[in-house]
């Protein structure tokens, strides 16, 4: 187990290195520079700025410098936000995004799995069709439409919750619901398909033959066996939710990562782009490892490492 984890961590570091390198060069391929937007600068002023930030050096040298700095734990300073440290900048922004993402993921997964299980157990009844409808709507309606509807009806008309901003937990409820629609529909559809298949298997009939009630059959026997494919899709989805949704953050005026990331790309704020990308990549790789470990916990037939157990 530990040997396997060590191997995985080393592989993760290699992957991160490759992603960092690739992003670095791709970024340099984008035309423009951090200072071209502020076009009031003269040629000589631009040269001074470029020299100050090391942008006048050949790209391989810049790359080497950047990599060395990363190894030291230094992500550099932002060009756009008054020379703030990138680590600091991301730290300030990651809170709301991660909170929203995590809440949306937990709520979405639990509710989605519940919907899927209900649909599978009451196949071809109005409960099944209702759950399908929710899933189809959730997948096809863009989240900003849904967000705007929530704002209008729940916040403005009914006045139950705040419309926007980020000043406390109650401010996170509406954006969480808006964000969770997608994981709900994904989880519900996958769960239904898997549950229907598992409920038809011999060991479920045997469980019923033992006198288990339909509740026990569904939750003690079927659920665990149906979870594997659902976890496979939900893992990566969790990352994309936790790293911030530009649209939902914009609609609810939440100072999150997604908004900052897009702005950085627009103004070629290289260190912020790199820093955010590395964070996303690291989270993603980490979640994949977690999913793999979850597999082996849920299904005893799946072993992490080959060989003897």
């Amino acid at each position: 187990m530990w040997k396997y984890l060590l191997k995985r961590v080393i592989l993760m570091l290699i992957t991160l290195f490759l992603i960092a390198s690739l992003t670095f060069f791709l970024m340099k391929l984008i035309p423009g520079s951090p200072f071209s937007a502020a076009s009031k600068l003269s040629e000589s002023q631009l040269a001074i700025m470029n020299a100050k930030y090391g942008l006048d050096q050949p790209i391989p040298i810049q790359y080497a410098n950047y990599m060395i700095n990363i190894l030291k734990g230094d992500l550099g300073i932002s060009f756009q936000f008054n020379n703030t440290d990138v680590t600091q900048l991301i730290m300030n922004r990651v809170g709301p995004s991660a909170t929203l993402g995590l809440q949306a993921m937990i709520f979405g997964t639990i509710f989605g799995i519940f919907l899927g299980v209900i649909a599978a157990l009451r196949q071809n009844t109005w409960l099944d069709y209702g759950s399908t409808l929710v899933a189809v709507l959730g997948k096809s309606i863009p989240s900003f439409v849904f967000a705007a509807m929530l704002q209008y009806y729940i916040a403005v008309k009914l006045g139950l919750l705040p419309v926007a901003f980020w000043r406390g937990w109650e401010y996170s409820i509406l954006p969480t619901i808006a964000l969770s629609i997608f994981p709900i529909s994904i989880a519900a559809r996958f769960m239904r398909t898997e549950m229907v298949e598992v409920m038809g298997s011999d060991y479920i009939t045997l469980a019923r033959a033992k006198g288990a009630s339909s509740f026990e059959v569904a939750f003690k026997h079927a659920l665990r066996n149906a979870l594997i494919p659902v976890i496979t899709v939900l893992g990566p989805l969790a990352v994309s939710l936790m790293t911030g949704s530009l649209v939902v953050e914009r609609v609810f005026a939440i100072p999150g990562l997604g908004e900052q990331f897009v702005k950085s790309i627009q103004v070629s704020d290289y260190p912020v782009i790199m820093g955010t990308t590395l964070l996303f990549a690291a989270l993603f790789i980490f979640i994949i490892l977690v999913v793999d470990i979850l597999y082996s916990i849920i299904d005893p037939r799946i072993r992490l490492s080959g060989g003897k157990n």
Binding site: Y203, K210, G211, P300
Partner: protein, 351 residues
């Protein structure tokens, strides 16, 4: 002997997109206390549906047990019980063993827990007591090293071992009736023999009645006291194991017996019953076997034969037994057996 289970006029249909499939068309039989009743027949004859209906395990969405069907167990008609009432009977009074041990255990649950589950459910014992009983059961079914293996998952066992575990699950609450749905079909021959021996020994120990479904007549001869032959959703012949093997009356049973390889025959060709089973979407008028039956008479195509009595224990549904029917010569293999029957009769029948 007392009847523990009486099935009367059992009629079951499946509703499919193509229409109503009349899978079971009026089945009657009884199970006596302590006996083993074998139900034989080819695929699609309704053996499994009959036994699944006793456990009420047929899918609710598309199956229908018709009104008038009676499955009498201890004075209750199982066909009319609610789900909650059935839960108290399943696993406690009536247990079931399934065909494929590779798929009938939950792959993500330790086997100890799977055996303990009916105990905790029906006998309200503590987890610790249930575990001790599970250990006893594993010893009873002959699984080596039960203390260690009780904490393992199904994939860590072979097919034969898994079937032993399934048997342990079924026997956990000392059921009054054990339904074994082709329990040896998916196992290889040496393991088959072991499992059959195990079941016979266990039946003596815990005094249960067994309904044994199979299409393997060799297995029937080995385990059964009585045999019911099913064809096209009906029981067409029923009798003691000797009566069915040595004095069969229905042409379908003749076909089954002729298609069984035997040590006395020198024939190189093994007999096969021609044709295919009837389409139960549109069940044929008259005797369902008539179109495949070389002994069929005109009446077979027009009217269904009733059960004719051969002896107190032996009944068969064929017009050949009608007093007006012409005498026919059964196939060679059957005749050879019938010649042995009188001497068989003097010895006490049974296993």
């Amino acid at each position: 002997m007392k009847n523990i289970l009486e099935v009367q006029d059992l009629t079951i249909s499946f509703h499919t997109f193509a229409g109503e499939v009349q899978a079971i068309r009026g089945v009657n039989f009884e199970l006596k206390k302590g006996e083993t009743l074998a139900i034989v027949g080819e695929s699609g004859s309704g053996k499994s549906v009959t036994t699944k209906s006793i456990m009420r395990l047929l899918p609710k969405s598309n199956s229908e047990i018709k009104a008038g069907s009676q499955i009498l167990f201890e004075g209750k008609n199982l066909a009319e019980l609610s789900d909650k009432e059935m839960e108290k009977i399943r696993g406690k009074e009536i247990s079931m063993i399934f065909q494929d041990p590779m798929t009938s255990l939950n792959p993500t649950m330790k086997i100890g827990k799977q055996i303990a589950e009916p105990l905790i459910k029906h006998q309200k014992v503590s987890k610790q007591q249930a575990k001790e009983r599970a250990l006893e059961l594993l010893k009873l079914v002959g699984l080596p090293q039960p203390e260690k293996r009780i904490n393992q998952y199904p994939h860590q066992f072979s097919g034969g071992q898994r079937q032993r575990i399934v048997i342990a699950v079924a026997l956990a609450c000392n059921p009054k009736i054990l339904i074994a749905d082709e329990p040896t079909t998916a196992l290889d021959v040496t393991i088959q023999a072991q499992i059959l021996d195990l079941m016979k020994n266990l039946q003596k120990k815990i005094d249960t009645s067994i309904i044994f479904i199979t299409h393997d007549l060799g297995v029937v001869a080995n385990v059964a006291d009585r045999v019911a032959v099913m064809y096209g959703g009906k029981i067409i012949e029923v009798g003691t194991v000797d009566e069915i093997f040595y004095n069969p009356q229905h042409p379908y049973t003749w076909g089954l017996i002729s298609s069984m390889p035997s040590l006395d025959t020198m024939d190189e060709n093994l007999y096969a019953i021609p044709g295919t089973p009837p389409d139960l979407l549109n069940p044929p008028k008259g005797d369902a076997f008539a179109v495949r039956n070389e002994y069929a008479m005109n009446i077979d195509l027009l009217e269904e034969p009733p059960m004719f009595k051969v002896s107190d224990t032996h009944y068969a549904a064929t017009w050949l037994l009608h007093p007006d029917a012409p005498k026919v010569d059964p196939p060679v293999a059957v005749k050879r057996r019938q010649n042995k029957f009188p001497e068989m009769n003097s010895v006490k029948g049974g296993k």
